[in-house]
Subunit: 534 residues, 2 copies
């Protein structure tokens, strides 16, 4: 089961392979063989062109690292190349970011993630003419091992992260060769990102990036992707750590489910042996079952799936849900308080521990620093309606908020309260799902809430109906087939504590915290109705 | 997108509802109405049967908690009911575990998760005859709020977790009523678990448990489920914390993929808008892409899917993978060392912080404490073969290990080295997937490894081929269609560091650490070819 590997094609499949496919494979094999021959020839040329080369053992293409040996050689990190290392001979593994021959010298910039350093091969007693030529011909993005003397520089090297030193290379070996032509051109990647359909700009650029995500993620000067995903990793960690401290238990919920519990719309179908199943639109049923099983407070982090044909800047068909559910004593505001405090802990953790990442992103995508209040602002729906109406919006008491009105409200709230994060409480009952607890004081409203960052929704939640009889009534009111939600309703028949919760979209939180404008920037390998690769 | 809620059935679906379904719903509604009427009648009877009842405001069925108010009332936890609380009047919310009338008294056991306490309603100046009768009739598993005086007991109450005190109830209100008949009978749940097909015992009992998971998870005396899943939550946390400290970055990888990258067998198909897609069998391609994108060291925790029709004690169709991938310098043993150290940190963390859970489980399922060495034992495949042959097993040099031989080897290793955890290194190349790096010193073997706990495999991993040319050759050797794995091979064309990793099955780690015998015990809502619910 944990075998992460399958032994290639099955026998049946092999037999089914058409002649055409076999021919294609032969052609590929011939091509590969030809290429190998050519490369061997080149290597031979490079390494033995001049048998008289005194430095010939000091450079070349290494044999593939196949774990042949365990040399006792420490590799220094680029970020550790500081003046303290001056006049030391060190080994380093890095990518060739650029290389440029200049007379008897070759200047290289060597890179590791966001750190880079200038390096130099110069004809002299450690390097031959041939060695300089070899260095100049190494393709960009290749990985090299170099032995070099760390030298202090007189003038700061402004173009590199390591500004006080440079490397005088004494040995250089290619560990992994990059193809000469990169599929993603630097000049394309430098251009400011086309933010998508809303701004009306071209999205070609972003698609090219996503098609070549491996290289896009790697280039430090042109994208901020490394920083974005390190921050995303931080959001998950802060979310979990905060909740664990509050006594929540992490649970794992199944993604393949037998019935579409929430009515059947927008759900992906899976073929499951001789029958069929669905992909879970949220872990909600399972979170609630855990509450009924006395876990008291639970959270989970995992993929959720929405078969919505929405091609917007903020919709994905698969995203990561940060989900919370908890029993409360008397009032669902206990739940709101737990969630908002968790969000505040995340915001503080990012602010305090991820400044480098935030700064890196804001260089390419400038935005105002994210503002939040303590305690979190909580507005009631009717208050929000009043603010919108004052701003000229015409809306009925029980109408849902449109996306533009949500954004407008975000601006009005920011002006009035100076916060980018707030809770909108007491939504009209009519616009919420059947399992939402009605407001005991006003049957038109409900004990439900959304949370917003920079005017966009990042969480939706509510007190749930924990009484099977009221749940049945509400389902009938929504004309939902009781047969399909039988097991859901049955969960509450053997004593169920009052409870509530919510689901947060990880990619949206990262996007809005950083002030980005497209959720594809905060999803490493985004999935939407038009994208399933890489 | 983060909307965890869908507004019931679509219009189309509503229109499509047959008359039959509508009739059914009407019937259900009538039934519900009848039941409501009956309940109302009962409540009325209970509460107003005797208008002369002096205690009539001290008990009853509460109005549903609908967040009507925010009373300033602290609820005490059962686990905090110690002699320090003696003679205090407290409020408590708990389940009725048992209730038993005895003359003018009613004895209750009140429960919160694994904690319980004895409570008493006795006719006197705080409770009437009617109130005692009411308490005696509360159905098991109902949730109640009680106000009670904490009293010291002279003799320890052996049957409860809180042995030094009991509660003298002054008020009792039902917050959520359980149906009188539980679907899972206590006597069934007490019986030792049928461990499944391997022992040849009936599995009916386990299926009943799983069908009624909410109640199964809740019962503390009869199952150890709460302890198992708290420990599972601990494994995830220890895994992530250890790797984060080592400089690994957490990544999120997509589960819906466009092509079955590992040959196409055992993969679930998803209908994706007008086309189709697959569920990822492992995050491997994405982990490797992140290494090629210079993330250096990554991990992820998430569901993986296997469409294998295996009905054994250790196979699931959906399980949680703890995945690791990292670049290394010279030798893949750097990867093995990172993984084994991570496992050792998990074992130590469980041993040091989860003793209560371990003891709870071992009461119902006795097993030897889990043993491990530091550093972890690493055996080569040829050594293992020699041990097995000495024990009478006939096996060829390049044969894979059968499950019984794995278990036998586990016993031999335990005898010789006194460890339940070890690494088996250098598997025959022939039994590993195409992307496994061949051993540079012996072409029959490979730089790959499995890890075992109590003789069962929990991880499979290897140095991966990072050279696109060798990868092409190996794929052709395995007769894999190059067209289908083009994007995979292309990932390595722009400079790829040597790297390796592995995937761990969370449920298996928990099962084997605790010495359990069925993976369904460590999956909260297990999925196998025959089970998709709840």
């Amino acid at each position: 089961m944990t075998k992460e590997e399958a032994n290639g094609a099955t026998e049946e499949e092999q037999q089914a392979q058409s002649k055409k496919a076999l021919k294609k494979q032969q052609k590929e094999a011939e091509k590969a063989a030809k290429k190998a021959e050519k490369q061997a020839k080149l290597a031979a040329e490079q390494q033995s062109a001049d048998e008289d080369d005194f430095a010939k053992d000091r450079y070349g293409v290494s044999a593939m690292v196949q774990s042949q040996q365990k040399p006792d050689r420490a590799l220094v990190r680029v970020e550790d190349l500081t003046p303290q290392k001056v006049d030391q001979l060190i080994w380093l593994r890095a990518r060739v970011h650029t290389s440029r021959a200049k007379g008897k010298q070759c200047f290289l910039v060597l890179r590791q993630q966001q750190f880079n350093v200038q390096a130099l091969v110069a004809v002299g007693d450690r390097a031959s003419k041939q060695m300089v030529k070899f260095a100049a011909n190494i393709t960009k993005e290749s990985i090299v091992d170099v032995e070099a003397m760390v030298r202090k520089v007189e003038q700061k090297i402004e173009s590199c992260s390591q500004q006080d030193v440079e490397l005088h290379i004494e040995r250089i070996f290619v560990i992994s060769q990059a193809e000469p032509r990169l599929p993603l051109q630097l000049e394309d990647a430098v251009r400011p990102d086309g933010d998508g359909e809303e701004e009306g700009r071209a999205t070609v650029n972003q698609d090219t990036r996503l098609d070549n995500r491996v290289i896009d993620l790697r280039l430090p000067k042109t994208t901020t992707s490394q920083a974005i995903f390190r921050l995303q990793s931080g959001v998950c960690q802060l979310f979990r750590d905060t909740l664990t401290k509050k006594g929540f238990v992490e649970i794992q919920t199944p993604k393949i489910i037998s019935a579409a519990s929430e009515g059947g719309a927008n759900v992906f179908t899976v073929s499951y042996f001789k029958s069929s199943a669905y992909l879970a639109q949220s872990p909600q049923l399972y979170k609630q079952m855990c509450i009924c099983a006395d876990f008291d407070k639970v959270f989970c982090v995992g993929p959720v799936f929405r078969a919505e044909d929405s091609n917007t800047h903020r919709h994905l068909t698969e995203f990561v849900g940060l989900d919370i559910e908890m029993a409360f004593n008397y009032h669902y505001h206990e739940v709101i308080d737990s969630i908002t405090d968790t969000m505040v802990q995340i915001f503080k953790g990012l602010r305090d521990n991820f400044q480098t990442e935030i700064q890196t992103v804001s260089k390419q995508f400038p935005s105002e620093p994210f503002k939040f209040l303590e305690p979190t602002l909580r507005l009631e729906y009717t208050e929000a309606l009043a603010m919108l109406r004052e701003a000229g919006v015409e809306m009925g008491d029980e109408d849902d908020l449109s996306t533009p009105n949500e954004k407008l409200l975000g601006r009005l709230v920011k002006e009035k309260y100076d916060t980018d994060f707030y809770v909108l409480d007491k939504y009209p009952l009519a616009v919420r799902p059947f399992y939402t607890m009605p407001d005991p004081n006003n049957p038109k409203y409900s004990n439900s809430y959304d949370m917003f960052m920079r005017g966009e929704e990042i969480l939706s939640g509510a007190q749930r109906v924990h009484d099977p009889q009221l749940l049945t009534e509400r389902a009938l009111h929504h004309q939902i087939d009781l047969e399909k939600i039988k097991s859901y309703i049955d969960s509450f028949r053997y004593g169920a504590p009052p409870h509530g919760g919510g689901g947060i979209g990880l990619e949206r939180v990262c996007m809005l915290y950083l002030g980005l404008h497209n959720v594809r920037q905060t999803s490493m390998f985004p999935r939407d109705p038009k994208r399933l690769t890489p």
